[in-house]
Point group: C2
Chain length 239, copies 2
Amino acid sequence: MSLPSEPVPQVLADALFRPVRAGNAFEETMERMLQAIRLGVVPPGGRLPPERELAARLGVSRVTLREALRALQEAGYVESRRGRYGGTFVRPTSADNLPLPPPGDLEDTLTLRLALETGAAEAAAARALTPQSRRHLRARLDDCTAAPLADYRRTDSRLHLAIAEATGAPSLTGAVADVRTRLNALLASIPLIPTNIEHSDDQHRAIIDAILAGDPVAARTAMAEHISGTASLLRGFLA
Amino acid sequence: MSLPSEPVPQVLADALFRPVRAGNAFEETMERMLQAIRLGVVPPGGRLPPERELAARLGVSRVTLREALRALQEAGYVESRRGRYGGTFVRPTSADNLPLPPPGDLEDTLTLRLALETGAAEAAAARALTPQSRRHLRARLDDCTAAPLADYRRTDSRLHLAIAEATGAPSLTGAVADVRTRLNALLASIPLIPTNIEHSDDQHRAIIDAILAGDPVAARTAMAEHISGTASLLRGFLA
DNA sequence: TCGCAATGGATCACAGTCGACCCATTGCCG
DNA sequence: CGGCAATGGGTCGACTGTGATCCATTGCGA
């Protein structure tokens, strides 16, 4: 395979020589928009930023962005209206059965998730949170406990993202969003069990309490426990 | 700025609407190659994979890859030889004064680094390591303590990457490599102080001992302490 | 000594992407 | 009622990136 005189570690080389881009600009743009809809960042009925602004933020030409939006429109996920106060809106009926990217490697995803989310919980707890952040965290927790079964995974995602957001670190927030998307792809293939949801709700409360109390160790511990539950569930169903 | 009826969280929206790609294919390819050289993944004098294979791994056309390699060659970082057993080789003299990407936000980088590297140390310690992995970790530790001042940061990077590699999770390894590159860009602007290096060596030993002993808690703690030292140093010089 | 395999070197036609520009629609507000 | 601002809709020419294909060089081994 490789010459013995080249002791290049395989895993590391694989990491550095990984693909420079996941797909073409159109595909990646569409994926991002779907991610925003799936994770509930733009709520059903909500309006996306104007095309010109969105294209600039995504670093993509408006032509390419519009191709992606047109594909989403044809698939029924969004709807565009012209004129002042027009825009592109998320169709309220499209919350379910969104296409998910193919699940990646299970252990890879779980290992990355554990590192990122426990790190985020600890960092959020270690930080002086604004009243606004505190309110946001509490609101997401309440959404989660109040959510009907069908909305559970979306509100759950939003809670976990809110924790990452509370760290104030954009890179960490983005990384958590990405790993969450991978996790959702895995979760999509296993059933929602009411008992697990009750467990999760308790754990969520413990996590948020620890963050709001400014207790990094407790926040990390609670998050680790929570994540471990989901990991076992996934391993049981998929391994 | 935005309508009050759209409670889209700013940090999260920023994370999801971040640029789809960091630059054009040529730039990103060149950046990856520099990263591989900087982090010592391909050692001085070492040979890069053949162009056809490398292009395929990076998901880029051979034409684009060759443009990047030609730029590196003109800048004196690599050298190509034709014929059987030819290839593209890293110039031994080019270890120093490699161009670094502009440093990003300090706190953002440090927060992400803390999460990823403490997570990696913990995951590595929690894992049944192969004898080969154990040897690799010890070897990188020895390189680090034995390194002359000029090589310290490269051997240090390699040690930290070896820890990430030991987790067996490619995504985590890639993420650590990326954040390390950002960290190196920051470190480049502050001096190397022998006292700090001695401290680091002790901490490195404690981390590796904990990982080899299979003690996740100790590994995390030791890594957290180590990283906190570097963080203070950076905040002192840059904040 | 010669053929062959493995490598880098080069070119071309085609598809993807971009930036710039202008048009079409809508509804607020003077 | 009419202008205007904000939005989506569409087109064009230039540049980027790709896949395929061939060429050039080198050195091992039959």
